[in-house]
């Protein structure tokens, strides 16, 4: 077992290796892992069909509801409600001392709504904040539930009630009735979302606007809570009270990382829930009546971790990549600017500068300067021949743009914000890399197409950049690049 520990977090690694070991151990018993897996995929057992369809329906239903929880920041409401339904389950069982899905469903829904109401009441009538109210409902309702459970175990006929399946969930214990219940709740959830999609979306993202349109915001909030209670209660049997909230939140959070559109998020979340449900049922079946809930949650968590790191837009890896490429670009642009400055100091008489001049200008070693130049050359901005560095037309244009952004911004700060001329450099140094074309045109307009920055240096204009030259009205030199292009 110690050998496996390095993979501790990688739940799947655990599962695979454990399955292999267990298969070896159980070779003498009735069926091996492989046989059980084959049986799983051929859908021979009717109980398996129930388990699998139940788990997948659960995934869809919880995934859809969870999407709204995540965007409404109600994730912990799901957690509190899923614990709060426990006394309702016990009372539903006590109704006629059987695990009748309907009476348990009714009892649990009532308990869940009571819990949601209590949260609201504590928040409205005491100074306690939402988190304390949720914690109170979660724990005290659960405590009542535990008391009822232990009382049921002590009365005749209560011991074999199978109520403990509600704690961690057992998909194999799903009956036809449970699956029908899940299916009808799923249909109800999908129907409600299809009919009220616009209303739910609006009340989730902009309550104030929804209210100003005269929408009954409270009504939609409570209808969501009601649907949530239905979803939780129907899922209890398969995933257990403790982990329902995971099935609500994790697939939805993974979807939230992958898309910006609510419709797409609902779809993705339902698909992730479906897959997680299927995986949970599979591992639970193959692993011989292991609890289903935890496996579903781990499957969903794997999806979430994948989205967290490798999501195309919001993933950590892609963000780090974007940051890196941005910093590379900024370094290149700073080098271009330094080359421009050297040429400008020569009053645009030369097209080629030496690496040494650049290194002196940037106060760095020759090696550093060479490394920077190599990077800039790879981007096609300069050509290097021996010790001489000269711009390509493209590089010249980019360098002019950067310098112009810098100087325009300096001028803007001294003119419009009345900042002293010796204080504007730092700010311009940061913004020169991000000013867009439209902003630059506006700046030029506001500054009356000024040609000089606060320090008296020339601002290369749009025309100059387009034509690839710098016109210097005060000097006879026509500037760098003019000869090349004309």
């Amino acid at each position: 077992m110690r050998r496996l520990l390095p993979f501790g977090v990688l739940a799947l690694a655990f599962l695979v290796s454990d399955a292999a070991q267990a298969a070896r151990i159980n070779e003498l018993s009735d069926s091996t892992m492989l046989e059980r897996a084959t049986r799983f995929f051929t859908f021979q057992d009717p109980s398996l069909r129930n388990a699998l369809s139940g788990s997948m329906l659960l995934g869809v239903c919880c995934g859809l509801m969870g999407a709204f929880l995540v965007v409404r920041k109600l994730a912990l409401m799901g957690d509190a409600l899923s614990h709060a339904v426990l006394p309702g389950v016990a009372l539903g069982f006590l109704w006629n001392m059987t695990k009748d899905p309907v009476s348990i469903f009714i009892g649990a829904t009532i308990a869940g709504l009571l819990g949601a109401g209590t949260v609201q009441l504590i928040r409205d009538t005491t100074r306690h904040k939402e988190d304390a109210a949720l914690g109170f409902v979660l724990a005290s309702f659960f405590g009542v539930g535990i008391c009822l459970f232990t009382m049921i175990q002590n009365i005749p006929g209560g011991n074999k009630s199978g109520l403990d399946k509600f704690l961690f969930g057992q998909a194999a214990a799903l009956s036809q009735g449970d699956v029908l219940l899940l299916a009808s709740v799923t249909v109800l959830v999908i129907g409600a979302i299809l009919v009220f999609y616009k209303e739910y979306a609006l009340t989730s993202f902009d309550t104030g606007f929804a209210r100003s349109l005269g929408m009954p915001v409270q009504f939609f909030h409570f209808s969501l809570i009601l649907l949530l209670a239905f979803a939780i209660v129907a899922s209890l049997q398969a995933v257990g009270v403790v982990l329902v909230s995971a099935m609500l939140v994790i697939p939805a959070a993974a979807a939230f990382l992958l898309t910006d559109r609510l419709g797409m998020m609902l779809l993705l979340s339902a698909v992730f829930g479906l897959c997680a449900g299927g995986m949970g049922a599979f591992f639970s079946f193959v692993g011989r009546n292991l609890p289903t809930g935890p496996f579903m949650v781990l499957a969903a968590a794997v999806v979430f971790v994948g989205a967290l790191f490798f999501g195309p837009r919001h993933g950590i890896v892609s963000r780090l990549w974007r940051q890196r490429s941005r910093s590379v670009r900024i370094r290149r642009e700073n080098t271009l600017k330094a080359i421009y400055h050297v040429i400008e100091d020569n009053e645009f008489r030369t097209e080629t500068i030496s690496v040494r001049e650049l290194a002196e200008r940037r106060r760095e070693t020759l090696e550093d300067a060479r490394r920077q130049l190599a990077s800039v050359r790879r981007a096609g901005f300069v050509t290097i021949s021996g010790d001489g560095v000269s711009f390509t037309p493209h590089g010249w244009q980019r360098a002019c743009e950067i310098v112009r952004n810098h100087r325009l911004w300096e001028l803007y700060l001294t003119h419009a914000a009345h900042i002293a001329a010796d204080h504007v450099h730092e700010d311009a140094e940061a913004i020169e890399h991000v000013l867009g074309g439209e902003t630059v045109r506006q700046l030029e307009k506001r500054l009356n197409y000024a040609r000089r920055d606060p320090h008296g240096k020339l601002i290369p204009g749009v025309e100059d950049i387009r034509l690839g030259r710098v016109a210097k009205p005060s000097s006879r030199a026509t500037g760098f690049g003019a000869e090349r292009l004309h």
Binding site: L5, L76, L94, T126, I146, I250, P294, A301
Partner: protein, 331 residues
């Protein structure tokens, strides 16, 4: 349904536990009191910092910590469990922060994702070990513990004196340590809980106090874990501070009220469990919640009765003291 609630026989419910079963009762009540008081004292700061549900998260995610610690050290002992639980608590806090800082997932979702995943991992590891026969942990025990077992432990003996069940003594030590820490660092904990900005400007290391509180939370929860289970420990963290918060505005008074509430709920809970023949830990949580419900409307500082009792309109925040109940107009 009719057999469920036994008739209330005051001889059986109130007297017998303290006469014939004294040696059992006293340890259960003491254990309940120690657990509730220690959790409640730490919980005061959690509730003030609006981190009540971080307590929920940590109490769940301790489970994989315990199992992994068992796998690493191959035996069960107090220190091994403590180490595993602390590591799991640290991992939880770090993961929650990582998820909500490094992505656009909101903090509430981050809490939920972290602890449910860790808890699921713990249950999976546990059930695998169970199938192999390596260990037997009762899954339900994890959730709601069994406080009645403390009286079955062989008592700790010191110099020929029978002191009592070791877990009760351990819990007493934890409570004493928590109380001492609060006494010594009262000012620092107060300032960091109410005004992190001020604490920072006074040169306090806010982060250190934050993680110190998380560490204390982990220690308290792991010691409470075996007697009341993961979820009821959450109740002990949240309900006593809420009770105290209804009755007082001052932190020192709240801490005292927390201890009082702990004693009352342990006592009432015990009798409730004897009467209804149910889990003692569950009954203590029910008693704690009922005590909160009892003071809910009686609160002098709550919003519920104040306006109607004083015949005043609700006070607008930022309204000057002289203009209570009047409409505030722009000058």
């Amino acid at each position: 349904m009719r057999h469920l609630i036994p008739p209330f026989d005051w001889q059986r419910v109130l007297v017998q536990p303290w006469m014939e079963d004294f040696s059992i009762t006293v340890w259960i009540v003491l254990m309940g009191f120690f657990v509730t008081a220690a959790c409640g004292l730490v919980g005061n700061y959690l509730v003030l910092r609006r981190m009540a549900l971080v307590g929920d998260a940590i109490s769940h995610s301790i489970l994989p910590g315990l199992v992994v610690a068992f796998l690493l050290f191959k035996h069960v002992s107090v220190w091994v469990s403590f180490a595993g639980a602390l590591a799991a608590a640290a991992l939880t806090v770090v993961l929650i922060e990582f998820i909500h800082k490094q992505s656009r997932v909101k903090p509430d979702s981050a809490i939920c994702i972290t602890f449910t995943t860790l808890f699921a991992l713990g249950v999976v590891l546990m059930s695998m070990l169970e199938t192999k026969g390596a260990i037997h942990i009762d899954a339900e025990c994890v959730l709601y513990g069994e406080i009645a077992f403390v009286s079955l432990e062989p008592p700790a003996v010191w110099n020929g004196w029978e002191l009592g069940p070791p877990s009760v003594l351990r819990m007493a030590a934890v409570l004493a340590a928590v109380a001492l820490a609060i006494f010594v660092f009262y000012k620092e904990l107060l300032v960091t809980a109410f005004d992190a900005g001020l604490a920072k400007s006074l040169g306090m290391r806010v982060g250190v106090w934050h993680y110190g509180l998380m560490g204390a939370l982990a220690i308290v929860v792991v010691s409470a874990f075996e007697s009341v289970g993961a979820i009821l420990a959450v109740a002990m963290l949240i309900v006593p501070p809420m009770f105290a918060g209804q009755l007082s505005d001052r932190l020192s008074a709240r801490l005292g009220l927390t201890v009082l509430h702990a004693a009352l709920s342990a006592l009432i809970g015990l009798h409730l469990s004897v009467w209804l023949n149910c889990s003692a830990a569950g009954a203590m949580v029910v008693a704690a919640a009922l005590l909160f419900v009892a003071v809910w409307p009686a609160s002098p500082i709550g919003k519920l009765l104040r306006p109607s009792l004083r015949g005043e309109a609700p006070i607008f925040p930022g309204c000057p003291a002289g203009s209570r109940g009047q409409r505030v107009r722009d000058p």
